[in-house]
């Protein structure tokens, strides 16, 4: 079969699409990678406070050169700044916020997501064992979890599966997935419900690259970026 041309989103556009999900006044935790880019696309007129699980609420942008402070980093160990109104706290308090569902949205990356909402993103047996960090706490407790990832891996295999093959980070927790090709909602009873297509990407291509159950209802609109 002829290889379908991938017209999908780049990483920054995935972040831009996820930013449309933000609502005024939310506290949001962003994971490492594409999720971090979401902070660059907050819609006009919306006020968001970013939480980083090592212990800051009100995380600001990277510092300008020369103003880096070793005592002010995010969970990715990157130098950051604190916004007006920010606060610092211990990691126990930080995870109390997370477990206690005081944080409205968690955005994180994944290696695999299942059509029942399971997520795998911390370990490849025999290859990569870096640890789960805060990911297991975040996915077990967050009310709303959006996964930002590529639709397929480097070998072209689908990352949206009927069941994860890698060790799980959490079960039945992911609510939405935004990939380079599509926005999908997870309905544990039915599977990945296709909500939007990336500009120029066909339903057929999404169907071909989604290994888990895919639900297509009526005309699927293109994303607006």
């Amino acid at each position: 079969m002829q290889k379908l041309n991938n017209m999908g989103l780049n990483k920054d556009q995935i972040a831009q699409r996820i930013a449309q999900e933000l609502r005024d006044g939310w506290y949001v935790n962003l994971g490492i990678g594409i999720p971090t880019l979401v902070a660059n696309h907050i819609p006009e007129g919306i006020n968001i406070e970013f939480q980083s699980e090592n212990g800051i609420l009100g995380m600001g942008p990277f510092p300008v050169e020369g103003e880096e402070d070793a005592d002010l980093i995010n969970a990715g160990k990157q130098t950051i700044t604190a916004m007006p109104g920010a606060s610092f706290f211990s990691s126990a308090t930080s995870f109390a916020m997370i477990r206690g569902q005081h944080v409205q949205l968690t955005v994180l990356g994944a290696m695999e997501v299942s059509d029942g909402g399971d997520i795998a993103n911390w370990k490849i047996p025999g290859k990569m064992v870096k640890g789960m960090g805060g990911a297991m706490d975040l996915v077990a407790s967050a009310e709303n979890i959006i996964v930002a990832m590529q639709h397929t891996n480097r070998r072209g295999e689908s990352k949206l599966l009927s069941a994860c093959s890698l060790p799980l980070t959490g079960v039945a927790c992911v609510k939405k997935v935004v990939t380079d090709l599509a926005v999908l909602e997870i309905d544990p009873d039915r599977g990945f419900v296709l909500l939007e297509r990336a500009p120029g990407v066909s339903v057929e291509e999404i169907r071909e690259k989604t290994a888990g159950r895919l639900v297509v209802q009526g005309d699927v609109p293109e994303m607006k970026l």
Partner: protein, 215 residues
């Protein structure tokens, strides 16, 4: 011997205490620390000298020597979700022997652990740590052991200070009793058994990220 070390990445780590333990040559240490330092700094120094027998941490991705020792079986490793790690420290200091958390349910972290349903949601039983020693780092402290942290260098330090039967705090600035305002104290001195002013803080940055200066 089980020893706790405060810090997140290289932020807020007890640099002086780690160097002193390296120089003392204590071996067979079980470390409880969120991370394992980098190859040539932080707890990486004690990995180089093979003083660490076992590592209990949530994320160890920045250290090649760690990975080598773990894959070769020289180093025992217990990976714990970060929030569970923090709470197991806090619980130890607060007299709570165990608690239920949803983190890790349905994953390999839950293997062999009791599961109970609360409010319709499964939780797993996690136990408090038991640590004879904790080494923490603060920004300022007084001779009564009261501690104040700066920025995100607070991280695991307060709970580990609470958890250690003997907690050794190193501070950048040690002042006389009465010089710190009671309102400003993050960790009350009751949780700190030894305190000293450290020297030559390197405060290394792992990921130096900056933005362009606005015009």
């Amino acid at each position: 011997m089980t020893v706790m070390f405060g810090g997140f990445g290289l932020c807020g780590i007890p640099e002086n205490s780690i160097a002193a333990i390296r120089d003392k040559g204590t071996t067979g240490i079980t470390c409880i620390s969120n991370n394992a330092g980098v190859d040539d700094f932080g707890l990486g120094l004690l990995l180089q000298t093979r003083q660490i027998k076992k590592m209990i941490a949530s994320y160890v991705g920045e250290n090649d020597e760690f990975e080598r020792q773990m894959l070769s079986g020289e180093l025992e490793v217990d990976l714990v979700p970060q929030g569970t790690l923090a709470e197991r420290c806090r619980a130890a200091g607060a007299g709570i022997p165990a608690f239920f958390t949803p983190a890790g349910y349905g994953t390999e972290v839950a293997e062999g652990k009791e599961v109970r349903i609360f409010n319709g949601k499964p939780h797993i039983l996690e136990h408090a740590f038991d640590a004879p020693f904790a080494f923490v780092k603060a920004w300022k402290g007084d001779k009564a052991g009261n501690l104040i942290f700066k920025g995100t260098a607070r991280n695991f330090n307060p709970m580990m200070a609470m958890a250690g039967k003997i907690t050794v705090a190193e501070v950048e600035e040690l002042v006389e009793v009465g010089e710190l305002a009671p309102n400003d104290i993050h960790v009350p001195g009751i949780f700190v058994q030894r305190i000293f002013q450290g020297t030559d803080y390197q405060k290394r940055i792992e990921q130096r990220t900056v933005r362009a200066k606005a015009e």
